[in-house]
Symmetry: C2
């Protein structure tokens, strides 16, 4: 298993400290929801999960915290749907199937892809990452 998800509260806090994120109560709640298992959650879904347990974390805090986590390298932002961003706790290199019929997002092991010749980058820039999304649809549908 490439990714070890922190399961206990203590492990979550340790990971946050490693990544330079101050572990406050709201952030711990949000991180625990994300790292519960491999999954792809929208900000809205994260908020539902968090607020069904403890009292309340505001929408703004959920958004700001997810953005912070992404910048700090705790989670990955997956941009496939114009209407919302998904957050992916799996940080190892991998790509995604995106089912345009169901909105479902599925991890694809990296290694299926070969960048035969990495295209020359524009002058004065460096690569930050490569995102591959394979859009799929249900066969029955047309």
């Amino acid at each position: 298993m490439v990714n070890e998800y922190p399961s206990s509260r203590a492990e979550v806090i340790e990971l946050m400290r490693d990544k330079g994120v101050n572990p406050t109560q709201q952030r711990i709640d949000i991180a625990q929801a994300l790292f519960a298992k491999p999954q792809h959650l929208s900000a809205d879904q994260v908020m539902s999960l968090v607020n069904q347990q403890r009292a309340a974390v505001s929408k703004a805090t959920v958004y700001n915290t997810l953005g912070l986590f992404a910048r700090k390298g705790l989670v990955r932002e997956v941009i496939v749907d114009p209407s919302k961003v998904f957050y992916d706790p799996t940080m190892s290199p991998h790509h995604h199937f995106y089912n345009i019929d169901t909105g479902e997002l599925i991890d694809v092991e990296s290694g299926h892809f070969e960048l035969s010749q990495f295209p020359p980058l524009p002058e004065g820039t460096e690569a930050e990452g490569v995102d591959v999304v394979i859009r799929i649809r249900n066969s029955a549908t047309h």
Copy 2:
């Protein structure tokens, strides 16, 4: 040159008819803005372009028309920025650099990539397309 962009009004109308899009005045205006040259425009930018020439096309019509064009295969939606969709008049298979510092979007010739082994699709689905985005940033920046 792989893509021939319709340059005259007549050519734009012909292309729309080919693709099964009823060529109304608003749609022609929008199509002409898009096909003026290879570029990546947001809905907002399209509206500015269209409305600086003729009187006025509403925001809603711009959005609805761009969505229609994308479904009909006149333009391609490029989803790289959570905040907005870009529309790309180049329909030949290609990928994109996305400069996260400047928001700039640059075409990359396809062919740099090799799908060594296409990953097995989930049961009951078929591939619709593959999007590859190489995120880059300015070297100076950190």
